[in-house]
Amino acid sequence: MEINLHKNKSILLNKEQISNLILRLSHEIIESQKNIDSIAVVGIRTRGEIIAKRIIQNIYENYKKKIDLGILDVTFYRDDFSENLGSPKVGPSDIPFNVNNKNIILIDDVLYTGRTVRAAMDELFAFGRPDSIKLGVLVDRGHRELPIRADFIGKNFPTSDNEHVHVLVSEIDGEDKVNLVKY
């Protein structure tokens, strides 16, 4: 029997669609909060960080407000860290503002099991006590294993178990694209 090792790949979102979705997320985030100054956007390394930076840029361009940016590396807080040690690089988290009394918008590229978000929330509490935490993602692909949902969703893509959603960003991968990869 021949095993097919070729991955089946299809494009879910192109550059323009991604840009529009992130812009819409930015507007939704601002509209959801009465006090814009209390908002801080925290991206989860690595692609969540890039999306968070774009959201902050969008908010600056549209509302002339500079929003605080934070970056979380959740490696040390993961529940599967011993299985996951192969992850390419652990980097430091960078939360350059006081978390207390902030309304934190957590940003990641793909929402899947919810375990990363759980780890990120735990880690945030090591920095202080935020007023609230909300979650924004570019793609929600389903298959949650924890009672977690996103407050701001770019696009819902119901997927099957043998599929993966790969978000590519130009800052890291040289292009903006979201692929659906079948294994």
Binding site: D73, F76, Y77, F81, S82, E83, L85, G86, K89, V90, G91, P92, S93, D94, D122, E123, F125, A126, F127, G128
Partner: protein, 310 residues
């Protein structure tokens, strides 16, 4: 998948350059953790680490213990002075007894060189050498290199001097192995009878005049003059040592150069180093202490976090 190849940290002689780089890089990540309001991460939750100290130690023991606690590991301390070792129990029996109680990692300091290597024959958990006699003290050298990297942004190509009792110093030996591997130039400086014969074979150069060393070096690691060695005729007096090998204020003032001063502690102020020098901006002695906790967190995380490990 493993992040480092090594299963133990016995010394820096055998470890690969890549492993050293990984340990230092991850160390900087833990430095950031140490700046947080809550300086604890749950990575080693449920792991038991035993600290076996057959020799006195203050800062290494505290540093390891802090590192373990900040990784959320459970810590058991053992010191030889208050144990069955006093009743004649051998190292093998001690360790096998501790091992059947399901330890996940052993950190050991022992006066006999090679004792950590011997330990690997008895137990199959990661062993971390916290100093074995006059052999190696790898975590000290790792924190020294991390501090150098923090200050200079690199290690490769730097001129690093080591001055003091090289012959009896495990700190010196681990530093030599590590620094040479990382591409630094190392020069040692000591009274001739406190240097191993043939030390050049390790890739270091030798000088006997501390002024030459200061002229040459970007950073100097000043070793403690171990007072316990004074009585046996190796050093005539602390004043004579200070005159010829001490990093004194006057000596540094004469050279007028930017030189980074390191010291593994505990400091004998006024002997190997002047108080003013130790407290000056060019000394990174307290950075070394902080990096010590971070680099030990990194070592334990990388050794214990591996999936291959049963």
């Amino acid at each position: 998948m493993k992040k480092i190849e090594s299963k133990h940290l016995l010394g820096l002689e055998k470890i690969s350059k890549k492993d050293i780089e990984t340990i230092i890089d991850v160390g900087f990540t833990f430095r950031e953790v140490l700046e947080r309001p809550i300086k604890k991460v749950p990575v080693l939750n449920g792991k038991n680490i035993v600290n076996l100290f057959f020799e006195n130690s203050t800062r290494t023991k505290i540093s390891f213990e802090l590192a373990e606690k900040r990784l959320s590991a459970d810590v058991t301390n053992f010191s030889a002075s208050s144990s069955s070792v006093q009743k004649g129990e051998t190292l093998k029996d001690t360790i096998q007894n501790i091992h059947v109680m399901k330890m996940d990692c052993v950190v050991m300091r022992h006066p006999v060189p090679g004792s950590c290597l011997q330990l690997t024959n008895y137990v199959d958990v990661p062993i971390v050498n916290a100093g074995d006699g006059t052999h190696e003290h790898p975590t000290q050298a790792l924190l020294d290199m991390m501090s150098i990297k923090e200050r200079f942004g690199k290690i490769e190509g730097l001129n690093i001097g080591i001055v003091g009792d090289i012959l009896h110093s495990r700190v010196a030996l681990s530093n030599i192995y590590g620094l040479i591997k990382m591409g630094a130039n190392v020069k040692v400086c000591a009274p001739p009878h406190l240097l191993q014969r043939g030390i050049e074979k390790l890739g270091v150069s030798v000088c006997y005049d501390v002024d030459d060393l200061i002229d040459w070096a970007d950073a100097i690691n000043v070793l403690r003059i171990q007072r316990e060695r004074m009585g046996i005729g190796l050093i005539p007096s602390t004043r004579e040592y200070r005159t010829f090998f001490g990093i004194t204020n006057e000596r540094l003032a004469r050279h007028k150069k930017e030189l980074v001063i390191m010291h593994p502690g505990p400091i004998n102020r006024g002997v190997e180093i002047d108080s003013e020098v130790a407290d000056s901006d060019q000394a990174i002695i307290l950075d070394q202490v902080l990096n010590g906790v971070a680099v030990r967190m990194s070592v334990l995380y990388l050794l214990l976090g591996s999936k291959d490990f049963e």
